[in-house]
């Protein structure tokens, strides 16, 4: 039997397989989290506590709330998201699943994109809860321009998820690394959180000016750079 030729796959087949594998890796992670409910409830609870404290505890004027809501919203999204991003690799290391995944005919880049997509979905879920909650509890006009908020949410989401996925993967290979990942991610993600907070604040003003566009461009640039860096570097990250 010519085993040497057995691993060969046509280009068309390869693309089809990669897409299907991406979906099945995401499906596996989402199904596991749905059944275990280890991270998402804690993540949502953290976000809700921040929204409640902002609405009830702080006693800010409407103008002050509008000035500060962006920062608090994005800090809550980032820290709640870190819970999910940490867990995505720690769970994989249990029972030797990570080694099993690496032994399948699937590239580390595909694994990275699957994890990135699941983490982006986790961040989107928290955004879907937190943004309406901030609006309802604090009466801030976050949804005054829904498309503008959507653009900022998507760009910020991809930027945070891209760098969080890469560095959580790196930290998961280190003993007790899960505790380190926030420290690793935080310095790199500051521009994204800062940009998203500013774009959120400017999006609530009467007119969308050039400053809003500039922050969105910055967010877009970070999303592209971090996603590309993650795809390129993840091959090295998965090594022991």
């Amino acid at each position: 039997m010519d085993y040497g030729a057995r691993g060969a796959v046509g280009r068309h087949d390869k693309e089809r397989y990669v897409t299907a594998k991406l979906w099945w890796m995401m499906h596996k992670d989402l199904a596991s989290e749905w059944r275990a409910r280890r991270v998402w409830p804690a993540m949502l609870l953290l976000g809700i506590v921040v929204a409640l404290m902002f609405a009830v505890q702080m006693g800010l004027s409407p103008e002050q709330k509008q000035e500060t809501v962006g920062s608090l919203l994005w800090l809550a999204i980032f820290f709640a998201g870190m819970l999910a991003m940490d867990r995505s690799f720690v769970a994989e290391r249990e029972e030797g699943c990570w080694e099993g995944l690496l032994s399948y005919p699937v590239s580390p880049t595909a694994v990275y994109f699957a994890k990135l997509a699941v983490n982006a979905i986790a961040l989107a879920a928290i955004q879907c809860v937190l943004i309406p909650l901030f609006v309802a509890l604090s009466d801030v006009p976050l949804l005054e321009r829904p498309w503008a908020m959507l653009a900022v949410a998507v760009l910020g989401n991809v930027g945070i998820a891209a760098i969080g996925t890469l560095l959580s993967g790196l930290a998961a290979g280190i003993r007790h690394g899960a505790n380190l990942s926030v420290l690793l991610v935080l310095p790199l993600v500051i521009p994204v959180v800062l940009g998203a907070a500013e774009a959120t604040r400017l999006g609530m003003e009467e007119t969308l000016d050039a400053a809003w566009w500039r922050w969105c461009q910055l967010l877009g640039a970070f999303a592209v750079v971090f996603t590309t860096a993650g795809a390129v570097l993840f091959d090295f990250v998965v090594e022991d």
């Binding site: 060969a8 594998k21 029972e95 099993g100 690496l102 032994s103 005919p105």
Partner: protein, 253 residues
């Protein structure tokens, strides 16, 4: 230059962890269809060598080839191998069936659900198919872990101490399975401590000492050349596992 009947080729393989050199300049040619036992004391580097051979661990130096194809980060070539590590590699929140279906999908096996059910039936685990790994015994988990490694009918199988945690019946079952793989001319490399298992199952023994591999013909280790034949006769078909061949798994050929 690679001969086509060489399943695994190692050239100048070395692995270092910090200052500790676990493998030193290992050169090996393992022919297709060989049954190779890796032996050595605890910490000798058996698992490291297996992980490097399976290309899960990047060697510090040297190269691994499977049937002449470079192994490192070559997803296509990974269709040639199956691995069963120390831990089961089963996702704790997926059922046994879902774990096998996921593995089949990752290995591009056509009709993954049917293939998973075939294997579960062969293992006698159909009734436990919808249980999670935590809800079944260690022996059952071990069987499913083996099925996971075999789901795409790989040409090469790497097993890291596959007998640990198995009772007598499980051990007999696994011996039967390895005999079937041998009969199907699959190349099997397994790390093992038990000399009886080496005599029963291996035709080549690689002993690791101080990071170097010493190569033995198993006949030299046997007190009685008839031993393997006797053992094979007594264990033939003992696994009752008739699901090794995967229709369409060679489709990528």
């Amino acid at each position: 230059m690679t001969e086509p009947n060489i399943a695994i080729q190692l050239r100048g393989l070395s692995k270092r962890f910090g200052r500790q050199e676990v493998l030193r300049d290992v050169h090996l040619d393992i022919p297709a269809g060989a049954s190779v036992a890796l032996t050595g004391a605890n910490g000798a580097g058996k698992t490291t060598l297996l992980r490097c051979m399976a290309s899960v661990l990047r060697p510090t130096a040297g190269e691994v080839r499977w049937f002449g194809r470079s192994a490192w980060r070559n997803p296509d070539a990974r269709r040639l191998i199956g691995t069963v590590a120390h831990q089961s590699g089963l996702y704790p929140h997926l059922t046994l069936r879902e774990n096998l279906v996921f593995a089949a999908r990752m290995c591009d096996v056509p009709k993954p659900l049917r293939r998973a059910d075939e294997l579960l039936s062969s293992l006698g685990l159909q009734a436990s198919a919808d249980r999670t790994p935590a809800e079944v015994s260690q022996g059952m988990r071990q069987r499913v872990a083996l099925a996971r490694g075999l789901i795409h009918d790989p040409a090469i199988l790497f097993l890291d101490e596959p007998f640990s945690g198995l009772d007598v019946a499980g051990t007999q079952w696994l011996c039967g399975l390895l005999d079937e793989l041998h009969a199907l001319e699959r190349t099997v490399c397994f790390a093992v401590h038990d000399p009886d298992m080496v005599r029963r199952l291996a035709d080549t023994v690689l002993e690791l000492r101080s990071g170097r591999v010493e190569h033995h013909d198993v006949a030299a280790l046997k007190p009685d050349a008839q031993a393997r034949e006797d053992a094979n006769l007594s264990l033939a078909g003992a696994s009752g596992f008739n699901g090794l061949r995967c229709a369409g798994c060679g489709r990528a050929a």
